[in-house]
């Protein structure tokens, strides 16, 4: 479903707030462990709330980035065909990044 401009504007603000709140939480929460140590980070991610927070933060970042890039592309690229291709490549890149990151994280925690 294609979002209209007012819905995507609201979604951009909502994702920004989610991003900001969870970024502050993760920043202070990660200070309690040695982030350079793989095993400590694994234990940290094994906590459901930490994993949930990171998933929410990462999802919010990806959606916020998608919407922000959409508006930049909309404003500066006027050729319809080029715009369509760039939007497709941008969406494909973001979806690929999201699947690889979340898939890798879930695999690491579960195995």
């Amino acid at each position: 479903m294609k979002l209209d401009y007012s819905k995507s504007w609201i979604l951009q603000k909502v994702t920004a707030i989610i991003f900001l709140l969870f970024l502050i939480y993760l920043f202070f929460s990660l200070q309690s462990i040695n982030i350079k140590n793989h095993d400590e980070l694994l234990i940290w991610f094994s906590n459901f709330f930490n994993f949930f927070s990171f998933t929410l933060l990462f999802s919010a970042v990806v959606i916020h980035s998608k919407l922000g890039l959409n508006s930049i592309i909309d404003d500066y690229i006027h050729d319809f065909k080029i715009k369509k291709r760039i939007l497709f490549l941008k969406n494909l890149s973001l979806i690929t990044i999201y699947i690889i990151v979340m898939g890798g994280l879930v695999k690491t925690i579960l195995l």
Binding site: L20, H38, V61, L69, I97, G104, L105
Partner: protein, 126 residues
Amino acid sequence: MKEKLPLSPHLQIYKPQITSLLSIAHRITGFGLNLALILLSLWIISFAMGNVYYDYFISLFNVFFVKIIVFFIVLGISYHALNGIRHILWDFGLLISNKAASLSGLTIIISSIVLTIFISIYIGVF
């Protein structure tokens, strides 16, 4: 014809003002922060690949050039986040007079620099 319209936000027409400059900077930092998204993704991917790859990824942060990149990412996030809050306040009808908009703009510039220095020292960039 739509194709002939000037590009938004009409950079060649407006006289530079603090509000417009900060709005342009908000877009530039937003675009640039996609680099932070890539770095965040690489961090998780290296974590998922195991100890050896993770240790290698972490060791990259000792390289001076990478530290500079991290510093600018922190600056970008600080500015984009604080200016984003300012935009949300505008959406609720707050700080929208000319004087308040300029003053809050100056506050954002100073705050983001201070916040960047604080965070950079706190996380050990310098």
